[in-house]
Symmetry: none
Subunit: 132 residues, 4 copies
DNA sequence: GTGGTCTAGACCACG
DNA sequence: GTGGTCTAGACCACA
């Protein structure tokens, strides 16, 4: 799976990496049980420090996206539980996004359409739609 | 309008303030043309640093939510243009939120329902529904 | 509050520090709302690296013992919630301790007496007992 | 005796194995004089590295739980002496557990009840109670 | 080989 | 001033 890092971005490198792996899982490019590259390997590949990769992996592990296997390193977690604290954070982020949208004169229908489009883009079903 | 600051939050204070003002605009509690409190006044009321409030106002001004008036200070901007830059950032945030949701086994319908609920909560139309 | 670090110990420094702060809270020497020394200050005082202190504080924050205040640094958290995951980990540790005790021919009554003594020692009520 | 290894756990594999054998002795499923499987055999059965099993056995031998017999391999030790070194470590662990409990608002009575329950669970007397 | 820990020094965001 | 991020290099525990 291809990972792109923008060292000039305002979002921290470890967070960019974390996000891209989340995208990978959501789109199905990364399957449960699959092992991620070792921190050293990925750090070398991306040209960043191994501690930065380490922090990304620790974040993902904390959030339950991956699990640290003592033999295989980081592996994609299986059935992620739909816990409450995640739901709360998700709602907070969505309310803020909606509020910003409202300030920019985005109506409810338009907002929902954007959300739907984004969901499918995250799911990777965009390609299927294009094909279909 | 009541503003609450949590110094224990992970989100910076200036951003919390910025967000709450965005909420105020979205919900209609802050109307176009209305003047925000002076930097000094608000800083004193909230018990935070003057520079912090200043940064919030600058942020809001940059994003077009408020306009800086030499005499009246910061005033809520009128019809904010739905610019491309904002749309791009919105989509980025929503795709990430969607991806995280997918990882937590949230289906499209459920995600859309949450988005709809969040939009209405931001709009403040929840209260209207209760009344109606 | 006095903190002692043993660099020769098998337990990591950041964990020793974390434990001592937990002791401080349990014994009442550290009160809710009280601010801990800054990472730089404490690192200098203890003669260890600031990243090590940082990791301790991050651990304590994750576990809910302290909260990171954007103005005051790390502060002792108030009413800590008695959450389930803590209870589960506590039980796991106690079962293991009990099993080891049983292997060393410690009877139930003796084990309970030790536990009671340890609780009071942690609480700091030992001194009161001596005085009373 | 069934042994379960979780390679995703934070506790090292050799320690998990060591703990489970301690549990086996405490519960009486492993009796003094009984021989443990050979290092090679157990490693193969559990699908783990030979060196890992070796480390567990060495650990257990160091602590006096098992004795290494040249012909029979590792055998469960008989009456393990209640040495001071063990008692000191036990107290250290219990004080820490108690301190954490106090921080989570666990009162003395509740803590003792948990300890008692854990002791019986380790002893395996829970089943006897159910039967009786 | 893997990740975990510790140290060290730098820059930046926040207040 | 504070903590957060990133880099760098070292050693150790684990498997």
């Amino acid at each position: 799976m291809l990972i792109q890092i923008d060292t000039l971005s305002v979002t921290p490198i470890y967070e960019q990496l974390r996000n891209q792996i989340v995208f990978g899982i959501a789109s199905g490019r990364l399957s449960p049980g699959e092992a991620l590259p070792s921190v050293r390997r990925l750090a070398a590949d991306l040209g960043i420090n191994l501690h930065t990769v380490n922090k990304s992996y620790a974040s993902l592990s904390d959030e339950g996206y991956v699990a640290m296997d003592r033999r295989k390193g980081a592996v994609i977690a299986g059935g992620s539980t739909n816990n409450e604290e995640f739901a709360a954070r998700l709602v907070d982020k969505l309310i803020l996004a909606a509020a910003e949208g409202i300030c920019h004169a985005i109506k409810e229908k338009e907002f929902i359409d954007i959300c739907k489009s984004c969901y499918r883009q995250a799911k990777g079903s965009v390609e299927h739609q294009i094909i279909a």
